[in-house]
Point group: C2
Chain length 354, copies 2
């Protein structure tokens, strides 16, 4: 079968690899999933840019939906033929952290392209098929999903990461009824944070964006204001927009120092920053500023598995259409082009159909 | 009258200065307060240790209770003879931040030992008398308080900073019914954080303490566990105590990098750190760790004025006795000794009676 690998700086190679098999040496809780659609994450683009020449090829992709082809003997909730969504990680569903609603802190957490200790390897998501080690804990079954309905597949695929991550930004940032929200980062995650802020009841949703295509989608998703500024100008403008003191909540959806600094500086005293941008540049926060302003910071890797079901209800009710972030679609053979389109900002987000 | 000044490293001088007068050039909203009791803050001890020889003498003290001796023509809520508590800052009570319950973000914020722009100077709190620039916004009247009842005065004095700051740590750390809480820092603020955690309904309250006197008071205030460890040992022990994943909330009441790192590392995934220790050592947080663990960080300078009334109710009901943190009492003439006792940890907290 085909699978995708990062092989060097801006080098993506699609290679022929053996198909995954159920693992008789594991707990028997695995499943083989035929990938219906996968996609490229903003967090895939960073290593794509910074990879070293001559590196060990690395399997790529962690967001996908698919159809179950086989299940291990101890799988209970997932059966052959089910259409499933995976969060971008593997989780057991049984440990204390999974049980209390923090599956991203699962004590048996595993990764696509790596696997779970004792349970064996899991392919990267940008493959024709993937072995999912702890299927019951990880996968969410979507009854009645139609793999040939591309619009539906797009919506469902976002629940694997990007929509759930935007939602996590909003939850972590304390978004709620009547709140004012500013979103730093107009990529797919930031755009999904607009949807999330809207469904959580925010009164004003400001998207910081200088890209026309993204601005348009932000407004379609529910942004009430577009501010095409950055840095100190952006901070000053946001302060002025909201009573001279800034918005209640700022959602950081980039991962750079500049974006985080802008977020913390923009929020009103006692406000909250929700962050989901992977901190690429090493991390440090200005604790002195946080002390004086009482702006809280919370977030990180989204606990996606816990959000899929509630968000799925809204997708199935036709209430939200996060799938619109996929503005370009590629075959698996063209995965390199899917990356290039994201890297060059030609695509907001690239979908890949094996 | 007498007032206290920091004049060099570990040098406190009590000097004779002119009595404060109402300021006819200001807004007429000021009051003169005769100080009944003041105290030494943990945040006073840091500059005491690090002051430079030959420095410009600096007025000290920002926590006091007293009796009103005079009020400006535009003061409405405070009258001569009233017993009053001040938060450790001056606030107007009228701006948008004061109105929304964030008086520590007041747009006219002022400091004892400095004053308010346009409203003139305010003496340091460790003085015989203090001019309070924006009296209506700042002062809380306590009807029926008896300045000769030392136990009562002690309880009321804590509402000026230390009890309210401990409460802010707990609020910022998300303490609530059924939660498990660990407190880093067994000084007066940390001890008040025990009281706060208890009244907010925490189920388990762990005080990290290696000092017998402080341990005893922590237990008296409601701590359920004492852990006399630090650093990695403390982190490992706390993780183990709570299902292998650590407590829900950790309250940082020290202000060092080590204490903050320990707090973030100790909290369970998705937990929360509330911090009130003034970041003395420059500030930076491990954003990578926060990203992975989803531990939030929130806090800083306590919004004391907003907490005084609800905490006063509990003091007046006899429900809490935070005044027990004052284990040594000094005259104003002995202010230098009050500092030395705190610096050398002979006192948990020093009260000063002019």
């Amino acid at each position: 079968m085909k699978a995708t690998f990062l092989t060097g700086p801006k080098q993506i190679r699609v290679a022929e690899v053996p198909e995954p098999q159920l693992n008789p040496a594991g707990s028997g809780k695995d499943a083989i999933v035929r990938v219906v659609a996968a996609c490229v994450c903003g967090s895939d683009v960073w290593p794509y840019r910074t990879a070293r020449a001559g590196m060990q090829p690395r399997p790529t992709g962690h967001e996908f939906v698919g159809v179950v082809e086989a299940v291990g003997p101890n799988v209970k909730n997932v059966k052959v033929g089910d259409f499933v969504i995976t969060p971008f990680y593997v989780c057991c569903g049984e440990c204390i952290n999974c049980q209390r609603g923090w599956t991203n802190q699962c004590l048996h957490l595993g990764w696509y392209g790596a696997g779970v200790p004792g349970e064996g390897y899991a392919e990267g998501g940008q493959s024709a098929k993937v072995r999912v080690p702890l299927a019951d804990g990880t996968l969410v079954v979507v009854p009645g999903a139609d793999e040939h309905n591309e619009e539906q597949v797009k919506d469902l695929l976002t629940l694997s990461d990007v929509m759930a991550t935007g939602y996590h930004a909003a939850i972590s940032g304390g978004v709620g009824p009547g709140k004012s929200v500013a979103i730093v980062g107009d990529g797919a995650v930031g755009l999904c944070a607009v949807i999330a802020s809207k469904i959580l009841g925010a009164e004003r949703i400001v998207m910081m964006s200088r890209h026309e295509k993204n601005q348009k989608l932000a407004v379609e998703f529910g942004a009430t204001d577009i501010v095409p500024l950055r840095g100190q100008e952006a901070v000053d403008h946001l302060k002025e927009m909201f009573d001279g003191i800034g918005p209640d909540c700022v959602l950081e959806c980039v991962g750079t120092r500049e974006a985080m600094a802008q977020a913390i500086q923009s929020a009103r005293g006692g406000g909250q920053v929700g962050f989901v941008g992977v901190p690429h540049e090493g991390g440090s926060l200005d604790l002195g500023l946080m002390f004086g302003t009482n702006v809280g910071v919370r977030g990180g890797m989204a606990t996606v598995r816990d959000y899929i079901e509630p968000l799925l209800e809204r997708v199935q009710a036709g209430e939200i259409h996060p799938g619109k972030v996929f503005d370009m679609v590629f075959s698996l053979d063209d995965a390199a082009e899917a990356y290039a389109a994201m890297d060059e900002r030609r695509a907001i987000k690239s979908m890949i159909r094996p």
